[in-house]
């Protein structure tokens, strides 16, 4: 730019130093201001986009090849992702299923420090915003009054009989899987292994007074 201005100086105009500096400053400022403008709703300039866009479909893209227009199809019934079991069939979301889970299911994970540590991380991530950091039912959204508080793990009675602090492995696992009352099912967000690790940590919270 300075080069251009200096040729200008020789050929077109005879200007004093101040003017050159002023003009340079003006031009630079204008460029800076104009090039900072962009449309936030657009991805902007693209060059050779065919190298960037995948030929294959992403799971979240629309897809004309399927009748419902989605790439992500619902798997056929009874297909299982790795690490999942068909708890839905053995222990359905009924009072009987709940009691059967309580009687038959045992946590496959021993209460080692490593497993409890994993359980704590998962609990804080998935449960604590309602159940609170110590399982007293005073999580962040409960304290804000946006969602009603769940019962404490260590005090009071369960709505399905018995006291909260005596809930068994199977009962807690069944509740995380299907939810109860206002709590939604969490089997789509947590694998069975992750649920079992949370059960380990919830047992620790049941001991609190």
């Amino acid at each position: 730019m300075l080069l251009k201005l200096s040729t200008m100086k020789e050929n077109i105009l005879v200007m004093n130093k101040l003017r050159i500096v002023g003009a340079t400053f003006f031009v630079t400022a204008a460029i800076a201001v104009i090039s900072s403008c962009s449309d936030k709703r657009s991805t902007g300039l693209e060059y050779a986009p065919n190298m960037y866009k995948a030929l294959a479909f992403n799971p979240d893209q629309p897809n004309k090849n399927f009748r419902n227009g989605q790439t992500a199809q619902v798997p056929p019934p009874h297909t299982m992702p790795v690490g999942f079991d068909e708890v839905e069939e053995a222990y359905p979301n009924t009072p009987e299923g709940y009691q059967a889970a309580s009687a038959n299911l045992v946590n496959p994970f021993p209460a080692t420090t490593a497993n409890l540590e994993d359980g704590k991380i998962l609990y804080l991530r998935m449960c604590s915003h309602c159940h609170g950091l110590t399982g007293q039912g005073d999580g962040s959204i409960v304290q804000l009054g946006k969602f009603p508080g769940p019962p404490s793990y260590s005090k009071g009675n369960s709505s399905r009989g018995g006291t909260m602090k005596d809930l068994t492995d199977g009962k807690i696992f069944h509740t995380i899987t299907y939810g109860v009352n206002l709590m939604g099912p969490h089997r789509y967000q947590l694998t069975p292994d992750e649920r079992w690790k949370i059960v380990l940590y919830v047992h620790e919270l049941q001991k609190l007074q």
């Binding site: 105009l13 962009s38 986009p49 960037y52 039912g137 962040s140 009603p148 508080g149």
Partner: protein, 423 residues
């Protein structure tokens, strides 16, 4: 601009909160109702609301429907009443099956009476509503002001320019007519045209004008090349309009829900994953944001219900379900491989490191450039934490073997992994 409006919004929010708190503190006067409200929130709200059916029935007017004595018995142990064959108790039990009401033997008669007093008195309509509305209005205007002012200014300038041109014309015609009336000869039209050409020629020789034009051209060319060189394929700041006005500021910032509660893929898969609508429904089967929308279901939450063909009155899902078509913001080119779990789980990188201050974003934009240089810079600076990190166990073991001078086979270096040969 974004920072200023955020700051302004947070100030307004905290002020409204204070205002609201002050008013609610004043409105609850009766002692027993005050005790009742605390107990109600502790024991009842998990299943009951005053004005809406949740898991159990709406409780407004329950003191008129049933006697106090019956209610005390029911609340302290509903199962015993059903077992004893109380006809009303059995009827309710059958209506709300399979939900069973938790027995509360720990509540004394006085406790139950105070809860009933609270139910009778009910939630006083919050008089903070006008303040709330004003705050929302202020928030909205602080949002829109930049664009509006900008376009307004441009419009004013354009209109002013047009007026000047038109007035100029009018003045000229008037002058000519005056001259005509006075009998002075008006120049020929041809002459005027010649004059125009001459004017252009004169302009071409005007050094100041030429200088001005050259400066404009320089500005235009430099801007175009600068933007072309730096911004091609870089989407920093990209903020598309999403089908639902989902606010990360509200969910992650204020409500403090962990990012990975919804984006469950982030720590165990390549994709962080867009949560499916059943995750929304874990809370929004109850949360309808009616208090912000004049008692009506929020129009944004209604979009979730519509997509799921969900009827909030009967709490039933229909068959005509359609996915929400979110617009992807962060998009790596096809030739770059990125794995979320590698970064979140193995390296322990916080979401904000790449996604920016997501907990303050009312509407998500791309905070990082996602260019190769940006990736490489971070990979050069970040220190690998290999202690207690199972991902690096084999690497450390291989290095130990090398140090001891033992034989190192391809198997030690992962040469037996399936993916080394089969892919």
């Amino acid at each position: 601009m974004r920072n200023i409006s955020l700051f302004f919004r947070s100030v307004v929010k905290s002020l409204t909160l204070l205002f609201f708190l002050a008013i609610t503190a004043n409105s609850v006067s009766a002692q027993s109702a005050a005790e009742g409200v605390t107990l109600f929130k502790q024991k009842c709200t998990a299943c009951h609301a005053l004005n809406a059916k949740v898991v159990g029935p709406a409780l407004k007017g329950v003191t008129d429907r049933r006697s106090e004595e019956w209610l005390i018995k029911w609340i302290r142990n509903s199962q015993a009443m059903i077992a004893s064959g109380d006809p009303e108790a059995v009827k309710i039990f059958n209506e709300y099956k399979p939900a069973v009401m938790t027995p509360f033997p720990e509540l004394t008669e006085e406790n139950v009476k105070s809860i009933l007093a609270y139910i009778k008195e009910g939630d006083k309509p919050a008089p903070a509503a006008p303040g709330d509305v004003a705050a929302q209005g202020a928030g909205a205007s602080s949002n829109g002001i930049s664009d509006f002012a900008l376009w307004g200014l441009v419009a004013v300038i354009v209109i002013a320019f047009l007026i000047i041109v038109v007035l100029n014309r009018v003045v000229k015609t008037l002058e000519r007519m005056m001259l005509k009336k006075q009998g002075v000869l008006v120049e020929e039209v041809e002459l005027v045209e010649k004059d125009r050409l001459a004017g252009l020629k004169k302009l071409a020789k005007n050094k100041k004008f030429i200088f001005f034009v050259i400066i404009l051209v320089v500005i235009f060319m430099s801007t175009a090349s600068w933007m072309g060189m730096w911004n091609t394929g870089v989407h920093t700041g990209y903020q598309p309009v999403q089908p639902i006005k989902f606010s990360h500021q509200l969910h992650a910032g204020i409500n403090k829900i962990d990012c990975q509660y919804c984006h469950t893929g982030a720590y165990k898969s390549k994709n962080a994953s867009i949560p499916s609508l059943n995750v929304c429904m874990n809370c929004h089967n109850y949360v309808t944001a009616a208090e912000k929308n004049g008692g009506q279901l929020s129009p944004e939450i209604a979009k979730i219900y519509r997509a799921l063909d969900y009827n909030p009155d009967t709490k039933q899902y229909g068959n005509n379900q359609k996915p929400i078509e979110w617009v992807r913001i962060h998009n790596l080119p096809d030739f770059a491989y990125f794995n979320h779990s590698q970064h979140v789980n193995v390296a322990g990188v916080k979401c904000q490191k790449c996604h920016g201050p997501i907990q303050t974003m009312e509407e998500v934009y791309q905070a990082s450039p996602l260019t190769m240089k940006w990736c490489i810079n971070c990979h050069k600076e970040t220190e690998v934490n290999h202690k207690g990190n199972a991902y690096y166990n084999k690497l450390i073991a291989a290095h130990d073997q090398l140090k001891k001078g033992e034989k190192v086979t391809p198997a030690v270096l992962g040469g037996l992994e399936c993916g080394k040969c089969h892919y």
